[in-house]
C-alpha cells in the first residue's frame, strides 16, 4: 500500500545519522522530526534563524518572537542558538548542515528539482529553497510519486521552472525510495505492498530496477 505523509517522513527519518544538523522544509519534511530513530541525536536548523528547534509550544506558551521557517510557533531546545538570516544562510551555503529534506513538484533524472513556481498561477516565491538546494551536499526530496491527475512527478526532465540543477540524490515518495545516479533513477526500495510494476508504471523518468527490490522496513 502506498505510504501516507507520515510514512514518507518515517522512511526519511531512517536516513538520519547521529550528530547531523538537519534542515527540514515545510510540509512532509517537517514530520520527519517525529520519527527520529532511537540512539540518534540530531539538531534541527530553521533558516529564519534557529539551531536546536524543539516541538510546538504547549497551549498558552506560544511566543510570537519564536517561530520556524513555516512561521509556526515553536520552542527552543536546551543548547539552542538564535542568529540572523545572513548567519543562517552562511551555515547552509557553507555546507555546515548535513542533511536537507524538502518537498518538490517535480524531480528529474539528472537531479534537477522544481518546487517553487507554476507559470500562470500565483507565484509565492522561492524563500530559502534555492539556497538550500544549490548548497546542500545531501538532499532528500519528500514527495508524492504522482500528481492528483495520476501523472508522474518523477521525470526525464522538469517541465516547471527550476529551483536548482543536478542537486537531488535521493527521493522518497509514497511508493518508493529512488537514488539519482548517472542521469537515471535507481529503484532502491518499494513501499510495503507496492509492486515494482506499479512504480515502473508511475515513473516517467528512466528507472533502473534491480532483480530484487526490498520492501521498506517501517
Amino acid at each position: 500500500m502506498a505510504l501516507d505523509k507520515n510514512g514518507i517522513a518515517q522512511r526519511i527519518a531512517q536516513e538520519l545519522r547521529d550528530g547531523w544538523y538537519v534542515n527540514l522544509g515545510i510540509g512532509i519534511p517537517t514530520l520527519v522530526a517525529n520519527y527520529i530513530p532511537e540512539g540518534i541525536e540530531v539538531e534541527f536548523q530553521s533558516e529564519n534563524g534557529i539551531l536546536g528547534m524543539g516541538p510546538f509550544p504547549f497551549e498558552g506558551e506560544e511566543d510570537a518572537d519564536l517561530i520556524n521557517a513555516g512561521k509556526q510557533t515553536i520552542t527552543a531546545r536546551k543548547g539552542a542558538v538564535f542568529f540572523d538570516s545572513a548567519t543562517s544562510f552562511a551555515m547552509i551555503r557553507g555546507q555546515h548542515v548535513q542533511l536537507t529534506v524538502l518537498g518538490a513538484m517535480e524531480v528529474a533524472q539528472n537531479g534537477d528539482i522544481a518546487n517553487w513556481k507554476i507559470p500562470g498561477k500565483m507565484v509565492k516565491g522561492m524563500g530559502g529553497a534555492m539556497d538550500l538546494v544549490a548548497s546542500a551536499e545531501n538532499i532528500i526530496v519528500a514527495m508524492m510519486h504522482t500528481n492528483r491527475a495520476g501523472e508522474s512527478k518523477i521525470l526525464k526532465e522538469c517541465t516547471l521552472p527550476l529551483t536548482g540543477v543536478g542537486c537531488v540524490k535521493k527521493v522518497v515518495t509514497d511508493l518508493a525510495v529512488l537514488e539519482i545516479k548517472d542521469g537515471k533513477f535507481h529503484l532502491i526500495e518499494r513501499a510495503p505492498g507496492v509492486s515494482v510494476e506499479e512504480i515502473i508504471a508511475k515513473t516517467e523518468g528512466d528507472l533502473v530496477v534491480p532483480d530484487h527490490v526490498p520492501e521498506m522496513k517501517l
Binding site: S46, E47, N48, G49, I50, P55, F56, P57, F58, E59, G60, E61, E62, D63, A64, D65, L66, I67, N68, G70, K71, Q72, T73, I74, A76, F82, F83, D84, S85, A86, S88, F89, I92, R93, D112, M122, V123, K124, G125, M126, G127, G128, A129, M130, D131, A134, S135, P161, L162, T163, G164, V165, G166
Partner: protein
C-alpha cells in the same frame, strides 16, 4: 552619541514618495509595527520595499499594499496575501523575487561595502538570468550585487540611547543586516535603556549602524501560524 528621537513621527521624518525602504522581519515576526503604521499615516507612495515577506492582508506590509503605497517589492516569499496577488497579477505591483539567503547576504554586502559576491544559489534557474556565471571549485556560481536603501527600518527588543540593539529569539532575522544597509537606519524598540545598560559583549547591532531610535508605543506581535501541543 544620542540617537533617540521622541516618537515615530520624528523617526520617519524625511521619507518621501519613490524612496527605497528596507523593512526587517520574517513573516510577521520582528517587523517594525509602529513604523509601518506611521508610513500608512504619512501616505508616502511609489515605495520600493525590500523585505523578506509582504505581510498579510491586514497586517505588516499588507497595510501599505492596501493603500497602494508600494510600487515594487523585493522579497523572497510573498504568499498569504490576497491583495498582493491581485496587484501583482494586474501589473500594478512590480515584484523582484530573490532567494532568501541571497537577499540576506546582499543586504549585508550593502552595509559592508562589498558591491558584489558569488553564490551558488539560483544557478540554472530564472534567478540567474542576465547574471554572470563563474565556476569555483568545479561548481557554477552567479554574481549577486549589494542592496542598500534610503531608509532601513528595523525592530529590536532592546536598544540603548547610542543606538545599540539587541534582538529576541527569531525576531532577529533580517533586522541586523538591514540596519547595516540603510543610508539612514531607524530602530523601533520595545525597551529603550540608557547607554551602558546593555552588556558590550552581547550587542547584536552596534549603534554605528543606527541613526535614529525610539520606543514603540505598542506591539501587537501577531502570530501567523499558531501551532501548539496539548499539555499532558
Amino acid at each position: 552619541m544620542n540617537k533617540v528621537v521622541n516618537n515615530v513621527e520624528e523617526a520617519l521624518d524625511g521619507i518621501k514618495d519613490g524612496m527605497t525602504l528596507m523593512l526587517g522581519g520574517f513573516g510577521l515576526c520582528g517587523i517594525p509595527e509602529n513604523s509601518i503604521a506611521q508610513l500608512v499615516k504619512m501616505g508616502v507612495k511609489d515605495l520600493t520595499c525590500i523585505s523578506n515577506n509582504a505581510g498579510v492582508d491586514d497586517f505588516g506590509l499588507g497595510l501599505l499594499l492596501q493603500g497602494k503605497q508600494i510600487k515594487k517589492m523585493i522579497s523572497s516569499y510573498v504568499g498569504e496575501n490576497d491583495e498582493f496577488e491581485r496587484q501583482m497579477l494586474s501589473g500594478e505591483l512590480e515584484v523582484d523575487l530573490i532567494p532568501q539567503g541571497s537577499l540576506a547576504e546582499r543586504c549585508r554586502a550593502g552595509g559592508a561595502g562589498i558591491p558584489a559576491f558569488f553564490t551558488p544559489a539560483g544557478y540554472g534557474t530564472e534567478v540567474a538570468e542576465g547574471k554572470e556565471v563563474r565556476i569555483f571549485n568545479g561548481k557554477p556560481h552567479i554574481l549577486e550585487s549589494a542592496l542598500t536603501a534610503d531608509y532601513a527600518i528595523v525592530k529590536a527588543w532592546k536598544g540603548d540611547t547610542e543606538g545599540n540593539l539587541v534582538f529576541k529569539a527569531t525576531a532577529r532575522n533580517f533586522n541586523p543586516m538591514m540596519a547595516m544597509a540603510g543610508k539612514i537606519t531607524i530602530a523601533e524598540v520595545e525597551e529603550l535603556v540608557p547607554a551602558g545598560e546593555l552588556d558590550p559583549n552581547f550587542i547584536h547591532t552596534p549603534g554605528i549602524f543606527v541613526q535614529r531610535i525610539f520606543k514603540g508605543e505598542k506591539f501587537e506581535k501577531r502570530i501567523e501560524q499558531r501551532t501548539v501541543r496539548p499539555k499532558v
